[in-house]
């Protein structure tokens, strides 16, 4: 038996040597949902990174080195994300743009942290990823959920004068996280109280009971954490049950599909979302590039991934192509980058500075930014 242990230890030592890298390219991994029902969230990021890398390579790369892209699918599932992460590392990725979903990101991060690889997510908004301080290698080009919840709560209390707010969520990671922050901020404000805090089952055949309950609680505003399918069902049921409370939600609802599906029920709904960038020349250019390359309109988180890729390329230029963690981290924190989202840098926790949310309202079938 002891012999077996020695043999095993020997094997382990044999495999301990670091993987060999070809010195001529810098490999950047892109991980996210590239297949399955959430592919619409992951593929735009992949396209964005491709465009940025192609442009950089055409201009001579970084410090004379070309950048190579490795794409890996995680279908937004934690167990597949760890597979994707190990595959990227075993192929020699030294930087990763991804993952797209918070759960998958949480599962994969320890693996990257172990390997000292910098990760920039275009879309993982779970607050603890940065606030916990456990992942010094993690950055993101999007604002975390608590920022969003704070803006929504401020708007409901100060902008709409709500005194009694019902907080509803879809029991998911994203929706419930948002709702819990909203609840906390409402209670801390002292100006309003939480009338109701409940989760609904996504996909249920009927939401009348929860709407009746909201009505019974006499809430003057409903704050919903979750995605647009449930939001449009609840809004429709509220209209049918003649419930007049204002409906405020998150950027899972600030999606044109919501307006299309909910139709005239969507009118008047508030939703927070990333700041309007339609007048930013870089954003216009980024969308034009996507149109030229893929003959279609870019989807969700395209600008965020584009910004992340620009930040990565910029940081690599600052370190002269070195990919060690301390150097890159320093570069990401200090360098200001012009991106489609505006001029951004990253703070010590890894959150982007200069990326913000504002409140939109549906008016005549369009999201219109609400000026406070």
């Amino acid at each position: 038996m002891r012999l077996f242990h020695y043999a095993l230890a020997a094997f382990l030592l044999l495999t301990a040597q670091p993987p060999l890298f070809a010195a001529d390219t810098i490999k950047i991994g892109v991980a996210g949902a590239h297949s399955g029902d959430l592919a619409s969230y992951g593929l735009p990021s992949l396209n964005a990174v491709k465009i940025v890398i192609d442009k950089t390579n055409a201009q001579g790369g970084v410090n004379g080195k070309q950048i190579e892209l490795l794409a890996e699918d995680d279908a937004c599932k934690p167990e597949m994300a760890t597979n994707a992460a190990t595959k990227l590392l075993s192929e020699g990725a030294r930087l990763v743009i991804g993952h797209v979903c918070s759960g998958a990101t949480k599962a994969a991060l320890p693996i990257y942290k172990n390997a000292g690889v910098v990760v920039i997510s275009p879309s993982a908004t779970s607050p603890e990823l940065t606030h916990s301080g456990e992942y010094p290698n993690f950055f993101r080009a999007i604002a975390p959920d608590d920022t969003q919840a704070r803006i929504d709560v401020d708007f409901a209390i100060n902008g709409l004068g709500a005194k009694n707010i019902a907080v509803i969520h879809d029991k998911g990671d994203y929706g419930k996280g948002f709702a819990e922050f909203a609840k906390k901020f409402i209670e801390d404000s002292g100006k309003a109280k939480v009338a109701l805090f409940e989760g609904v089952t996504p996909g249920a055949v009927d939401y009348s009971a929860i709407v009746q309950k909201i009505k019974q609680s006499r809430a003057d505003a409903v704050m919903f954490g979750g995605y647009h399918p449930e939001a449009s069902k609840i809004v429709g049921m509220m209209k049918r049950k003649k419930l007049q409370a204002a409906f405020i939600s998150d950027d899972g609802v600030k999606d044109m599909t919501f307006i299309k599906v909910a139709g005239k029920n969507a009118e008047g709904v508030y939703a927070s979302g990333p700041k309007d960038t339609t007048n930013n020349p870089l954003s216009i250019q980024a969308f034009a590039e996507h149109r030229a390359m893929y003959q279609s309109d870019a989807g969700a988180f395209y600008e965020n991934a584009y910004a992340a890729a620009l930040a990565v390329v910029n940081a690599l230029k600052a370190t002269n192509g070195a990919t060690d963690l301390p150097g890159l981290r320093q570069a990401l924190r200090t360098e200001q980058v012009d991106t489609p989202l505006g001029t951004i840098s990253f703070n010590a926790e890894g959150d982007a500075v200069g990326v913000g949310f504002s409140i939109f309202q549906v008016r005549n079938g369009q999201f219109v930014e609400v000026k406070q």
Binding site: L8, L12, S35, E79, N83, T86, K87, S102, A107, P110
Partner: protein, 404 residues
Amino acid sequence: MPILAEIRFALRAALWFVFLTFPIMVIKADPIGQTVIWRWRNAVWVGACSFFVCLALRLWKNYRAKHPALGPSNDGGSFIHRILDHSGQRRAFLGILLAAAILFPFFASSYQTNIMITALIYVVLGLGLNIVVGMAGLLDLGFVAFYAIGAYTYALLHLHFGLGFWQSLPLGACLAALGGICLGFPVLRLRGDYLAIVTLGFGEIIRLALENWGEFSQGPSGIANIPRPGFFGMTLSLDQSILFLYFIMIVFVIATIFVVNRLRDSRIGRAWIALREDEIACQAMGIDKQKTKLAAFALGAFWAGGMGVVFAAKTTFINPASFTFLESVIILSIVVLGGMGSIVGVVCGALILVLLPEYLRALSEYRMLAFGAILVLMMIFRPQGLIPTIKSRYPLENLTDDRP
């Protein structure tokens, strides 16, 4: 002219499929853009494909009817069984298999090894469920609950008490077995499909509790930073720990196969099989039905709990979304596809069902469509499973009548 008749039949089938798929394949109505697109080409495709597939199937069926020797052999999987029956060949076969398993990670990338770990986890899960469904004949649609209990045991024990993998492993397995007994008690009186729906409900209740009872389980955001198993106090790099986990799983699989094999031939294993075949006759033989059923639930759950701990250690992050009803369905499919009650079958079934979608990635969006179709086709052409179990035979040889 039988061939003409076949063509006529295939034509009719093709027409039927064109009709059947007409609204969904041909019309695409967009209520927002107020447009209707008629995709007639799809109808032609459906018609042509179903015509040829149907014709080919009919001709093959006719051909087989004329050549019965080529028909499906009923001692299915006989090749493997024949090897396993012969003790010398069996030893050689198992030796090669073991050597291949041990050498595999040194030739494959750590990504391949990682996938193989997942596949091995499902092998053990399948063997666990095989005790409940395959041997004792109790249809369990909530098996994933025990998997979840194991995973959360490790995650929570580590989070609150800092317990390691090796301490949590037996605890997780035993807690899951306890869960199995808790589920077993109320459902002892239920039979067949009533049992199925109650176990389904049990699985859902566990998942929903994990999702909603945030103070206990951290809710849908899950638990992160679960450590991988350490190697005698050494901290391992990522590649090493994957390798280590792989060998742990190899040992696990061997141990499971050994135990399950012995269990099947033991007194209690015989009792399970008797229970599956005929409950009443089994009771009449003096077998304690309650104890036997509870033992099946507990022992099946035991393996699931252990694998839950390994799963948590492998992904280092768990949330309730990993333990849905779909997962139970996949484990059940492993058992039925492989051949109920057959250990070799379950091992093959698990490897196929886990590795197939992974390598079907080339088909990308058609992957799940193909998966569903393969399940149906497998059942039609081999309803008894890939490698069905063979009943033990005790030939009556050398019997001498020495009665006075």
